[in-house]
Amino acid sequence: MKAYLTRRYLFSASHRLHCVEMSDAENKAVYGKCNNPHGHGHNYSVEVTVAGRVDPRTGMVCNLVDLDSFVQEKILERFDHQNLNTLAEFQATVPTTENLCVEVFDILERDFHHAEIEKVRIEETMLNSFEYAGGREIRY
């Protein structure tokens, strides 16, 4: 039996949306308030969905302890209370929540091996959310 398990994590970070290839006027036009050079912050909510067969011995898709410790070490410690623009992964890309979502998915898919990574969903605010499933269609 295949099931999908979703776990929610929270972190807070700041960013500034600014593209070096655009003029200051273009940046202002495209990013508006988000282009403020001093940055601004969000409380991000990250939902990680893993998929797989339910192990008949444990009743689990994967042990939550493994998922929690991986996310804590590789994602929360990396991004929580940071300015995203200062991190290596956002030197060449703008730290929009689209790009953050792809980055978090890629970290999980590359190094978490206890279950398949189905999807990452990030809420930037209560009004904005972003989902990425490695380029696959998202299942609802």
């Binding site: 999908y4 398990l5 008949p56 011995r57 009743g59 299942r139």
Partner: protein
């Protein structure tokens, strides 16, 4: 095709233990959840059905009927129960959220004649939920 989701809540206790594992293995794999006296959660259940909208009623499914089926098949059986001891299918399988979602699917699917069951989602806490779509 329109999808319709009905929510329900129930509270229950459980613990995780596999008699084929040693006490040390049970403790290592299940941690705090291995406490044999159990612990509890406020579960939220979301049942999603899909179907065509009936021309005359404008419904995918009669919500009153869906609510009754959910109450009879799931809530009455599980609300304020110790799942391991009082719900038949958990005498020989561990009542994880995964197995709970599968069990609820199996309880509802044969009773829903009006619309097709699409998804069972069970929240164990606001930060943890499982989806089951009936996949083998």
């Amino acid at each position: 095709m329109v999808y319709l989701t009905r929510k329900a809540e129930f509270s229950a206790s459980h613990y995780y233990h596999n008699p084929e594992f040693t006490p040390e293995e049970n403790q290592r794999i299940f941690g705090k959840c291995n406490n044999p006296h159990g612990h509890g959660h406020n579960y939220t259940l979301e049942v999603t059905v899909k179907g065509n909208v009936d021309q005359r009623s404008g419904f995918v499914v009669d919500l009153k009927e869906l609510k009754e089926i959910m109450n009879r098949e799931v809530i009455e059986a599980m609300d304020h129960r110790f799942l391991n001891k009082e719900v038949a299918e958990f005498k020989d399988q561990i009542p994880t959220t995964e197995n709970l979602a599968i069990s609820i699917w199996r309880r509802l699917e044969p009773k829903l004649n009006l619309a097709e069951l699409h998804r069972v989602r069970v929240y164990e806490t606001p930060d943890l939920f499982v989806d089951f779509y009936g996949e083998a």
